[in-house]
Symmetry: C2
Subunit: 396 residues, 2 copies
């Protein structure tokens, strides 16, 4: 077993325990040099020639192939670009067009709200009748029937870490003739995913969480290879054209995954991501998952022992959880601020959820114990009950 703990490859400030990799991954060593190289050697020296000589144009699929390895997806089935919300819009558009005779997009209340907004925005502007049906996560399976055009789910709940069984839901979806679209924002780099094996039609995700691509790193989209060729497109940007540099007036869509490209890719941000993905080359997702569960179990048992006022908000069964453990507490916001003040970085989601990302690439058992002890102290001594922690800021 290759060592999973690779903290020496990261540039994480010494005095902190970072439990927020589920929101924004930390900086890997070599990222600054890569950014320097792209700016000075490629953009600076090659200027416009960078598009050819530095292979910027091929980068979105090249980086997609690195992500495909992590997700056990086919080569040339994933492309990067824009943001997760845009990629979701593209995937959902294509998905509904594969089931024109059906009217329901099924999702759950555990989905990231943005996914619901994107779906509703799309539905409100269709020529056909479509309806977004939002059920409780535990009712998803029983709600899949042959009225459903598309099942659109985020595998891991952003608040409590509850995880759907990707394979069994995809199978059920297919047995009812519906199209499966997974949002893997909290899965990619966190839990093992076998995209090819699942036979799901579409998947999307982001790269700034567990994949450590940096703030605002682009989104990705997966299309099952047999569907790429006739994939329908709503947002037809020039780079989705089969021959973009012919500049023809008619849109002839690419017959490769490039069809899901839209505009000019963010080369600098994409280069940083490409570099950040190197760390995954010898990571076994199964080993990482095993370690993640081990650390999570320690975290949960220690918190429950030392901080009895907190209530576990995540599923207790590790196989029903992603890579994140959440606890509910009425003054959770202030507690998280007090923790951050002590160098323990978690985050908060309304109304009362304290989130802790368990990322074995850079978290040790010792880090977990340090975090719990700090949490215990903050709660026992009421340190959170201070004006500066109670006042809400924008993001966490």
């Amino acid at each position: 077993m290759v060592e999973i703990y690779k903290k020496s490859l990261f540039d994480i400030p010494k005095d902190i325990v970072y439990l927020d990799g589920n929101s924004l991954g930390p900086v890997l060593k070599g990222i600054e040099e890569e950014s320097h190289r792209v700016i000075s050697k490629e953009w600076g020296k090659k200027l416009i020639k960078g598009w050819n000589e530095s292979r910027w144009m091929a980068q979105p699929v090249r980086v997609g192939n690195k992500i495909a390895k992590i997700l056990n997806a086919e080569k040339d089935s994933i492309v990067l670009g824009e943001t997760l919300a845009v990629k979701l819009y593209q995937a959902l558009s294509a998905a509904i067009d594969l089931r024109k005779d059906r009217s329901i997009i099924l999702t759950d209340s555990g989905n990231f709200p943005s996914d619901l907004y994107v779906a509703q925005g799309l539905i409100d502007n269709q020529s056909r009748d479509l309806k977004l049906k939002v059920v409780d996560p535990e009712d998803i399976k029983s709600s899949i029937d042959d009225s459903v055009a598309v099942v659109m789910l985020t595998q891991v709940d952003y608040r409590n870490g509850r995880m759907h069984d990707l394979d069994s839901i995809t199978n059920l979806c297919h047995s009812c003739g519906a199209i499966m679209l997974w949002d893997l924002a909290h899965s990619a780099g966190a839990v093992p995913v076998y995209l090819t094996k699942s036979r799901c039609e579409f998947a999307v995700g982001c790269t700034y969480k567990y994949l450590n691509g940096g703030p605002g790193s682009p989104g990705f989209i997966y299309v099952r290879p047999d569907l790429i060729k006739n994939c329908s497109t709503r947002i037809r940007g020039w780079l989705g054209h089969k021959y973009p540099f012919d500049f023809s007036r008619e849109f002839e869509q690419a017959d490769t995954i490039d069809v899901m490209r839209v505009g000019t890719p963010p080369v600098i941000q994409m280069s940083i991501l490409e570099k950040a993905l190197d760390i995954w080359e010898d990571v076994s997702m199964e080993d990482l998952r095993e370690k993640c569960i081990e650390l999570s179990e320690i975290f949960i048992s220690q918190v429950e022992k030392r901080c009895p006022d907190l209530e576990l908000a995540s599923p207790r069964d590790p196989f029903l959880r992603g890579s994140q453990v959440s606890f509910a507490f009425k003054e959770g916001y202030a507690v998280i601020q007090a923790l951050i003040d002590q160098g323990i970085i978690g985050d908060f989601r309304a109304p009362n959820i304290m989130r802790f990302g368990i990322t074995p690439l850079y978290l040790s058992e010792n880090d977990i114990l340090t975090a719990v002890k700090c949490l215990e102290k903050i709660l026992k001594e009421g340190l959170w009950n201070s004006e500066r922690f109670l006042k809400r800021k924008l993001v966490t």
Copy 2:
């Protein structure tokens, strides 16, 4: 008059004359330090706290305000994000919804093909009858009538630099009750634009050309302030929500220009752009335009004198041209490759257009003369007629 020529503020390789700022602007000094600062000091040290403490969340509007100054637009009327194609999709969606009783989107054959693809992709998926009408650029004015819902034009033609009169077309458009949408990809930082004065409803553009934001720097969108509040949205990402961090299930759209945000902004790329925009603080667009015309006139007269085989493809009247001069030549592709080989960087657009961007911030009269002499030599000695220049590469 403040000096327009500021080449000392750029990091342009010594041995080249860069005539391709219309495609990708060069690196400004300080950009590398800025990228270093964002990666190590903000992402690296502050991690997730960067969203608050480093004001990443407010950056898309803050940078928009810098662009608003260049385009003489209202404060808080421009926001950055994703790519030009996505922003165009958003703008055109909102525009057609303002004229639900009309059926024509009018554009011209000089528009960037991507804009036509985006429009057609949108039209093909509407519940109402809409038609894209593409006329010749000289027929635009006579084609605006009260069947037209939206006039969608790129002000400066990407091939020949032909420039539409933004104000008179906008006025005509409004006199027929249509909505005006300008693509300023080749205008922003190239020619004076008075967005507020024009009263146009929407504008979009990119930031990696004359604004020097770097490869894949994000797109921008302008919405006339009186229209922002009830602007319709197709792509409803979480950051277009009035209170994104409430994570409510219903989409309540922002009543500010944030409504045109979609997903998580590319912070590193955006920070580089923000820094690159500093140079515009004391640039008068009128002075820059005057200098651009002066240099362009020298370029045209010298090329016509020394290279009689080339045919001017741009309008001869400088007031009908943007900041780019194009010449047609059957073997234009090979000539451009031979020029690049000599350090004179222009580019090529099919079928036979050689493009030269005239950017007075970093081009002197001497540069222009050097370029023409090199072009003359390549043509007179037939240096372009070589295997290595004739073989087509992807981009230029």
